[in-house]
Amino acid sequence: MTRRYHLGSTEIVYLALAGILLVAGVLVAVRGGNLFAQQNVSYMLTQTSLLGFVAIGQTLVVLCRSLDLSVGYVVALCSLVGATTMAGDPSRVWLGVVAALAVAAGVGLVNGLVISGLRVNPFIATLGTGLIIKGFLDTRFKGPEGEVPFGFQTFGYTRIGPVPVSTVVMLLVAAAVFVLLTRTRPGYHMFAVGGNLDVARLSGVRTGRVLVLAHVLCSLCAGVAGLLIAARFGTGNALVYSYGLDLDSIAAVVLGGTLLFGGRGSVVGTVGGVAILAVLDTAFNVLDVNPFFKDVLRGVIIIAAVALYARRQLDPASRRARFTTGGGDAA
């Protein structure tokens, strides 16, 4: 039996990334700049880490045919919980980290239980928890609060060559999620839950638990992103929720080839999607593109990518075809 080579979604993502790097590199070079100067590369990689954490988590819930719109608020909340718990005391760093992650996990647990237990549409459920967190943040925190000890700020700033530590940590988290999805039962079951809930249930998968786990892990990833924000700013900041991390993370997941309807995708693709968005962002900055045009281009690229994937989907009707379209019998 011969196996035809078929480009997978992940390969396409990285080909697109290479293409965009090339085009952007040439455009910048024409303007007399260098996209690959250390300063630009560092900026690019720094951009990837923050969105990376959030998008990795988002991948898990999207794979389960769910969605998390509360991630932006979780990031903001966790930056504040971390920074205020640390309160400038180096000995309280771990306490701050644990507190922030515990809060994140709690939000994820609530999301997961509301969606799987009360059967609330994930869009509405996570929008609801997000708004609740927003209300809390808006009334309780008027500005930046808390203080991150210098030791922990290194998480935000230290670089190994051009590579920020935070990017390395993000890639480690991505690797862990990769193992989860490709080597563990809960990972396998996430694909099943997203692919077809009934099939999963009838095969003995405890679908509720899988969904809750995905949401907890998603929020935890957002929590790590919150800690990264705190490390960079030196304080927690409620206004981080206006960064648009929620929609950007979904965009990155979809750019990375994960099906928005669940059941298919990969974290490797998501990292590629994040990188594409970071390259675009860096190139736009270096080229000094008008901010409006920048958003338009981003939108066009995301829609084009999803349209491309949609064309690759099998038409379910054609699988049952009895005759070929040309005429006469199917062979």
């Binding site: 999963a200 054609s318 049952r320 009895r322």
Partner: protein
């Protein structure tokens, strides 16, 4: 309780021992025994007093018309439905499966018609879903593949590799993977619901081979099929159901195809259908197809004349609905010629269909026929307002009249403006769908299962309407699974089988003849 005892005293039905074939001679005890099984849905009984014995190493065919209760019986065995009366015994012990998963773990597996696989996962991942082998906490992919390979080898399936993505397999291979999954649960009983319905002829051989191998391994197989050829090729024993009743169980060798078909059909409906008009002379050809086809149907030739009712009969999935969809532009024909009133037309979308004054009353009124949350009036005006707005004024005035003439429950103008169709009965909903099309004054109207799930009074109203339409010069194409309806209403009957027209019969033909053409017995 005395009901159950009564059933126990029934004489077990005759089961063939097929003395000529020692290779899979059944052991004397059935592995699964059903006694007096009955099932109701909302007060309507769909299964009554069903007895069934499945023996290891035997293929037991379950046949009957659409709606005879075959699928319901399968679902009772699979643990999807719980029977109201009767008992199910596995190895002589009474059992009750709360969920299909429990049935599966007890060795009772079911392969349903709709695919229960994840197309984006590999064969191995599908087969062992929920039971992935572990090694030090992670999935042991080597064992996962090895176990699947062994399963596939045992069943002689060489064309499928464990790591192939299920979505890239052919329909037949996917069906096989489902059966492999059932076997992986050490199933001793496997029921299959029309496993060949979606398969091309040469793919059927793969399934035959697999069924025979399973039988030789001592698995009891319940095989639901419409196709007589398959039944005689595979089955040791045949059971016929009709209208939820058990009609016959006999060795395959002792039932002739003629007797089988005549047991499946036949009901007393005298006087229920409106009389055929005595002086009917069909007019001009309204709709003609010549060599029409697409991916689902091929070589369709048909003519429907003004004043004529032509039925498309055939089994579910035979391609009847696809012909209607081709005519109306839902899934357009990609070859052949179509003419309306002698003019060649190309109908690529339903909108174009409406513009050629075609109408299609779809099979599923709730999802395709009505905007359930909207009012009777809004639904009745839907096509007019959407496609023929310039004609709307004149025709819209006719809407209340049409509703009244159909005797829709909420037909007064005020009521039609307020009543949401979702609160109407099935029959009244169907009348609203009909009204929606009647106001467009169609030249050709296609009715796909127009009387499904509606009460007797509404059925009669639909039949009367069909006569009225033809008297006014419309051409009617009727798609129906109800043979009495087909035989009594149609002037001509075209029988569809496997995407082609298998033959034509005059109206008033014997139901048996229609069934014989539809199942391939003729």
């Amino acid at each position: 309780m005395h009901l159950l005892l009564d059933n126990y005293q029934k004489i077990p039905r005759l089961v063939d021992m097929r003395a000529d074939d020692d290779a899979h001679a059944p052991s004397p005890d059935p592995v699964l025994r059903l006694r007096g099984v009955g099932k109701d849905f909302f007060g309507t009984s769909v299964l009554r007093e069903i007895d069934l014995d499945l023996y290891p190493g035997q293929v037991h065919a379950l046949v009957g018309e659409n709606g005879a209760g075959k699928s319901t019986l399968m679902k009772v065995i699979a643990g999807v439905h719980r029977p109201e009366t009767g008992t199910v015994e596995l190895d002589g012990a009474p059992v009750s499966f709360p969920t299909p998963l429990d049935a599966q773990h007890a060795g009772v597996a079911t392969v349903f018609q709709e695919f229960n696989l994840l197309p984006d996962r590999s064969v191995a991942e599908n087969v062992y879903l929920g039971r992935e082998p572990l090694r030090r906490g992670t999935v042991d992919r080597r064992r996962l593949h090895a176990d699947t390979t062994r399963l596939l080898d045992d069943l002689g399936l060489t064309g499928i590799t464990p790591w192939t993505r299920v979505g890239s397999l052919s329909v037949a291979q996917q069906q096989v993977v489902e059966i492999v999954k059932a076997v992986s649960y050490d199933a001793r009983i496997i029921s299959m619901d029309e496993p060949t319905a979606a398969l091309a002829d040469q793919e059927v051989a793969l399934l035959y081979e697999l069924v025979r191998r399973l039988r030789d391994r001592g698995v009891a197989i319940l095989y639901v099929s419409h196709r007589l050829q398959e039944i005689y090729d595979l089955a040791d024993t045949i059971t016929v159901l009709k209208d939820g009743n058990h009609m016959l169980t006999a060795p395959a060798g002792e039932v002739s195809p003629d007797r089988l078909v005549s047991t499946m059909v036949g009901r007393d409906f005298a006087g229920f259908f409106p009389d055929r008009p005595a002086d009917l002379v069909p007019g001009e050809v309204r709709l003609a197809l010549a060599g029409s086809g697409n991916t689902m149907v091929d070589g369709i030739d048909l003519e429907v004349r003004a004043g004529e009712i032509v039925a498309l009969a055939g089994l579910q999935g035979s391609g009847r609905t696809e012909i209607a969809h081709g005519v109306f532009g839902i899934a357009p024909f990609t070859r052949g010629r179509m003419t309306v009133d002698g003019q060649p037309v190309q109908v690529r979308t339903p909108r174009q269909g409406v513009r050629h004054r075609l109408a299609l009353v779809t099979e599923d009124r709730k999802s395709e026929g009505l905007a359930l949350g909207q009012t009777v009036l809004a639904n009745a005006r839907l096509v007019l307002d959407a496609v023929l707005p310039r004609a709307s004024d004149r025709r819209a005035r006719a809407v209340p009249g049409v509703l009244t003439s159909l005797d829709v429950a909420a037909s007064t103008v005020a009521a039609a403006r307020d009543a949401e169709v979702q609160y109407l009965s099935g029959g009244n909903q169907q009348k609203v769908v009909l009204a929606k099309w009647l106001v467009t004054e169609p030249r050709v109207i296609v009715l796909d299962e127009p009387t499904r799930g509606i009460d007797v009074g509404a059925k009669r109203a639909v039949y009367d309407l069909m006569r009225t339409l033809t008297a006014d010069g419309a051409a009617v194409l009727l798609i129906s699974s109800e043979l009495p309806e087909v035989v009594a209403m149609a002037d001509r009957i075209l029988v569809v089988r496997d995407g082609r027209i298998a033959g034509e019969l005059p109206g008033g033909s014997d139901e048996t003849a229609v069934m014989a053409l539809a199942t391939g017995a003729a």
